[in-house]
């Protein structure tokens, strides 16, 4: 983050991933309180801060439609009495990972930005809360968490992004230098391209920036993990599938339908992509109240996940429950997993076509491991694109980059508007320079002298 720009408000899940009882979403920055008071409602109306110090409130996190996500506890820690010395708010959720994930997305939707790894610590350091040695220790742990393969992929993608950004930046700088040259040297015979051409360059850059931004979710997959929920009717083999994917005994696997009552979370590393796997309770009519709660969490998980694995027992005909669950997941990115391949396949191609259409499906046996490689590949492809193009692909994987690209896109849109309104080009120049400098921050290049170099290098100027 460059000094001098607005300090933004960051958010992240502060507790380690897993099935702990409580998970905490932490926000830090000037808008922390206002974001949280939009996401969480107090028991008697909006949350109000009463005192200047720490405060704890009970409330309910709600989504954009006013649907309650979870009952939560909010802790206010005003600056400088917080870990980062900024205004910090923490939302403690009880409802398991699915709820946490939804609370997090609500915070993002209300204007917080996803924190980069170690960013809370960096802020704590910058604001004098901890010293350099402490900060370095924390940051080294943060960095060690991602494995080597992931880091390499990240570096390669950074390289591709840099090249794309640099090319765009060069084009825009060319336009800016032309405008500036004619402004500062009005008597010189400087070739100026017509406004339509300038508009085309700007529009092209904006589209490219937006295309890059569209890759951000895939990029986020690399750094936050792809949340994949395993759904299906009881005893279809969801927990066995989870175990097979993480290759260790984790979830309780039993023959009694409805054993998995909570959402079980595990992490798996699939081709360098961190995948967060949620095993949900078997979706069916619940037998008791405890199971009822599990089923509801399963539905919530389904909403929050990036990808769904619909598990059916391939050795048996499709049940009515299978069809119902299929209808529930129809709008989501999902892979059909035909489990229990070791017991033989009773479903015909025609039936499968009717059930799943042309969407991806994989036959596996969680028990023997048959087809599991195909499943891993399919999960990765669905979340970050085909392996082939991936290493060379341009993907935005860093929250800071995403933020800067967003700023560039805004500036470019403003410049486009200025030009479309028929305003003089030099009025668009300021926004174009903002875009150039935002792009420059991604690749570590600053405007300033460079603009003059460009002007004097390209145009024969001066008397």
């Amino acid at each position: 983050m460059a000094v001098g720009e607005d300090v933004d408000t960051i958010v992240a899940v502060a507790t380690p991933p897993g099935i702990g009882g409580i998970a905490v979403v932490r926000l830090s920055g000037p808008e922390a309180f206002s974001v949280v008071s939009q996401v969480v409602q107090g028991r008697r109306g909006p949350l109000v801060r009463r005192r200047r110090g720490w405060e704890v409130h009970l409330g309910r996190a709600v989504d954009g439609q006013g649907q309650v996500i979870d009952e939560v506890i909010v802790t206010w820690m005003p600056a400088p009495f917080s870990y980062t010395r900024e205004d910090v708010a923490e939302i403690s959720c009880h409802g398991g990972m699915a709820a946490v994930q939804r609370v997090l997305s609500e915070c993002l939707r209300r204007g917080a930005r996803l924190a980069e790894p170690g960013e809370f610590t960096r802020r704590a350091f910058v604001n004098g809360r901890i010293d350099l040695a402490q900060a370095e220790a924390v940051l080294s742990v943060v960095e060690a968490r991602s494995d080597a393969g992931l880091r390499m992929a990240v570096q390669q993608m950074d390289g591709a992004l840099s090249r794309a950004v640099k090319a765009m930046r060069r084009d825009l700088l060319g336009v800016v230098s032309e405008i500036e040259a004619t402004v500062d040297f009005p008597d010189e015979d400087i070739p100026v391209r017509p406004v339509e051409q300038v508009q085309a360059v700007v529009a092209d850059a904006r589209q490219q920036v937006e295309a890059l931004l569209a890759t951000a979710p895939a990029g986020r997959a690399f750094h936050e993990g792809v949340t994949t929920a395993i759904v299906g009717r009881p005893n279809a083999g969801k927990s066995s599938l989870l175990n097979a994917l993480v290759q260790q005994e984790r979830a309780i696997v039993t023959e009694v339908p409805g054993t998995t009552r909570d959402v079980v979370e595990e992490w798996a590393n699939l081709d360098g992509v961190p995948v967060r796997l949620w095993d949900t309770a078997g979706i069916r009519r619940p037998a008791d109240r405890l199971e009822q709660a599990g089923v509801e969490r399963a539905r919530a998980a389904l909403q929050a996940a990036d990808l769904l694995l619909l598990v059916v027992d391939g050795s048996q005909p499709l049940s009515q429950e299978d069809w119902q669950i299929r209808d529930m997941v129809a709008a989501h990115a999902a892979i059909l997993v035909l489990n229990k391949a070791d017991l033989g396949q009773v479903l015909t191609g025609e039936e499968l076509q009717r059930f799943w259409g042309d969407k991806p499906r994989v036959r596996v046996s969680a028990k023997t491991g048959l087809g599991m490689d195909n499943l891993r590949r399919a999960v990765v492809e669905q979340s970050v694109g085909p392996a082939q193009g991936r290493l060379g692909a341009v993907v935005v994987i860093n929250a800071r980059h995403e933020h800067l690209l967003r700023r560039a896109a805004e500036a470019l849109a403003a410049a486009e508007k200025t030009l479309a309104d028929g305003m003089p080009m030099d009025l668009a120049s300021g926004d174009l320079r903002l875009a150039v400098s935002a792009l420059g921050e991604i690749v570590g290049e600053s405007v300033g002298e460079e603009l003059l170099d460009e002007i004097f290098g390209r145009f024969c100027i001066g008397k």
């Binding site: 000094v3 015979d189 009025l427 008397k463």
Partner: protein, 664 residues
């Protein structure tokens, strides 16, 4: 006007200004007008406010500097208005930020008028003589030593030596130790500055040949007439010369034969033969450099400009050169319209010593030396306007230093002068520095039309503007507010008259009523039209000119015109202006975090080596300035911020505001 009746050498001056070019004149006038006993020294009394290069003032960014100098009580604007032979408004098709006045000046009259002004200023003595050294007492400068061995005592000294420090003139392989236009140079002062531990750099600039007007064939050139411009450089001068009584400039072009001749003689050009070591300005390349760097360009523009009403010489703008005399003569004769041109003065390049401006505080005081200031070309700039702007500030700050007052420092968000000085003292310069609009981050706010109202508070604090003029600015501010209010309140109904009026101007009809302000936002509608319509329809409830009549009296029509111009820009570009203002607020946050003067960067852990070294060298006065130093990373800045925070916490309350003011 002498303050002491006779020779002043026995007594002490408050401020001594060394050099009376464009920086020196402003410095001397400012100090004297602020009541300081001031001495201006020049090598040649006939060269006060001399223009050794192009005969023009203004242009983009430069005009803004002139307007700011005027707004703060400097002389350049009025001197330019009183002596121009042609005036134009440039960039009229572009945005309001970059519109700029430019005048062709009468060099002799410009000099003569300025000399008269100096001579008639109370508290100011001007004297001819060469300064060879400074009188030092410890780390304090307390006077100058003349070539005659005389010492003149002064409590503050402002160096405005222009290109005169160890200057060397080149024409082909001929080198002459000389100032511009065959003036005496002063080499000794240069050595003395070095001995004081100051670091100097070698710069180069150049000028084209002058030709006899009666030897030119103007019928082969395109005429560039002047314009009827309703404003001047000064907010307070009313002289306007109608276009038909101005002198024209003429446009011609070089051609491929000229370029071939130049290319054949590259080895004889001092810039390529290795004779010139100084760094020249990129925006002012000589014709040999243009031909060398842009070989594909078949022709270069050449403006033939008058040097004055009575002058028989014309200036060949675009043909700056230090090629040998024979090449210059052959080259000129190959140019259309100049076939029979008689060269009255050859073009030349000049090398000179300049201070590395990183050795200056933002007040233009020299670091490490009490009572020493520098302004103009010696600080690494080029251009009359850049010089005058610095001279004014150096003169003001030298006077304030003598009085024990805090220096006046303008932010990058307040004035081009602020951008100029901040660039110099923060980033330094490796080539002669010229002001450009693209150097200003907030140029929509730093327009030439609003300089006086924009800098009103500074002008009042400085105290250089005569009371009558300060009142005029105050009245203008009131008038602007009144006009803005009236425009916002006046509502346009959908009457047949209004409908016809709009249709005549190709403007969209009004639907549910519209304020006059909204109407003015339309690109096709001018403010005078809005006012005429408002008058016809009786839409304005308030007489916005009333404050002007009260506060400006005889200046009222002039002030009204200026108010209209400013308000028109502010309304038409309100959205853009608001966005820059928002950016300024963010900028100010770091700018307002002052750094105490003696901060020891060696004692701050965690700084990068380069960052530490640069911070130690520049010793920024604010965190904002620190962040602009090249080589200081955002992480370094964070660490400095953190350190300041700790310091202020250790001290208990307060942030130490004001401690970091640049030295006066």
């Amino acid at each position: 006007m002498r303050f002491s009746g006779g020779s002043a050498s026995a007594s002490e001056y408050d401020v001594i200004v060394v050099g009376l070019g464009h920086a020196g004149c402003e410095a001397a006038l400012a100090a004297a007008r602020l009541g300081r006993r001031t001495l201006g020294l020049t090598i040649n009394m006939e060269n006060i406010a001399h223009m050794p290069c192009n005969p023009s003032i203004g242009g983009p960014a430069k005009a803004n500097l002139v307007r700011e100098v005027d707004a703060l009580g400097g002389e350049m604007g009025r001197n330019a208005d009183a002596t121009y032979v042609q005036i134009r408004m440039l960039n009229t098709q572009k945005g309001p930020a970059v519109r700029a006045l430019r005048a062709q000046s009468d060099k002799r009259r410009y000099h003569a008028r300025m000399k008269t002004v100096l001579e008639n200023t109370p508290n100011l003595d001007i004297q001819q003589g060469i300064v060879t050294g400074l009188v030092l007492q410890g780390q304090r400068v307390c006077g100058v030593r003349m070539w005659t061995g005389e010492e003149i005592r002064g409590r503050a000294v402002v160096l405005t030596t222009g290109t005169y420090l160890r200057s060397l003139v080149h024409v082909g392989s001929t080198q002459v130790v000389s100032g511009p236009q065959a003036q005496i140079t002063s080499g000794q002062l240069s050595e003395e500055l070095k001995a004081m531990g100051l670091s100097l750099q070698r710069f180069k600039t150049g000028t084209p040949p002058r030709v006899a007007k009666d030897s030119l064939d103007f019928s082969k050139m395109a005429i560039q007439p002047g314009e009827n411009v309703h404003t001047g450089f000064s907010f307070f001068s009313a002289r306007r010369v109608p276009a038909d009584r101005q002198l024209p400039c003429w446009l011609t072009y070089t051609n491929e034969r000229v370029h071939e001749l130049i290319a054949e003689n590259f080895d004889r050009a001092p810039v390529y033969s290795g004779d010139i070591q100084g760094v020249g300005p990129r925006y002012c390349p000589s014709i040999e450099v243009k031909v060398h760097d842009f070989p594909d360009k078949p022709a270069h523009q050449l403006f033939v400009e008058p040097e004055g009403w009575e002058s028989g010489e014309m200036y060949l703008a675009g043909l700056s050169t230090s090629l040998p005399a024979d090449v210059q003569r052959r080259m000129v004769a190959m140019i259309r319209g100049l076939e029979h041109a008689f060269i009255t003065r050859l073009g030349y390049a000049i090398e000179y010593d300049a201070l590395d401006p990183l050795q200056l505080w933002p007040s233009l005081a020299v670091k490490g030396w009490e009572g020493l200031f520098a302004a103009g070309q010696i600080n690494g700039t080029s251009g009359y306007e850049e010089a005058a702007a610095q001279g004014l500030l150096a003169g003001i700050n030298a006077a304030r230093y003598v009085q024990g007052l805090a220096p006046v420092i303008l932010g990058r968000d307040r004035a081009y002068i602020g951008v100029l000085i901040d660039d110099l003292v923060t980033r330094g310069t490796r080539e002669p520095y010229r002001m450009l609009t693209s150097r200003a981050e907030y140029r929509l706010l730093l327009r030439q039309d609003n300089a006086d109202v924009r800098l009103w508070d500074v002008a009042r604090e400085v105290g250089l503007l005569p009371p009558e003029r300060l009142r005029m600015v105050e009245a203008k501010l009131e008038g602007e507010r009144a006009l803005r209010r009236a425009l916002a309140r006046g509502r346009l109904g959908n009457t047949p008259f209004v409908a016809r009026w709009l249709a005549e101007r190709g403007s969209a009809p009004v639907r549910d009523g519209m304020s006059l302000e909204e109407l003015l936002r339309r690109p096709e509608i001018r403010i005078d039209e809005v006012l005429a319509l408002a008058a016809a329809e009786q839409l304005m409830d308030q007489d916005w000119r009333e404050p002007l009549r009260r506060g400006c009296r005889r200046w009222e029509p002039l002030a009204a015109q200026q108010v209209l111009e400013n308000v028109e820009q502010e309304v038409k570009y309100a959205g853009y202006i608001a966005r820059q203002q928002a950016a300024v607020e963010r900028f100010r946050r770091l700018e307002d975090r002052r750094i105490p003067e003696g901060l020891d960067y060696a004692a701050i852990p965690g700084l990068s080596n380069e960052g530490r070294e640069k911070l130690q060298r520049v010793r920024p006065v604010s965190v904002g300035q620190a962040a602009r130093i090249s080589g200081v990373s955002p992480a370094d800045v964070s660490i400095v911020l953190l350190h300041l925070d700790r310091m202020s916490r250790a001290r208990g309350r307060g942030e130490g505001t004001g401690e970091g003011e640049g030295r006066g």
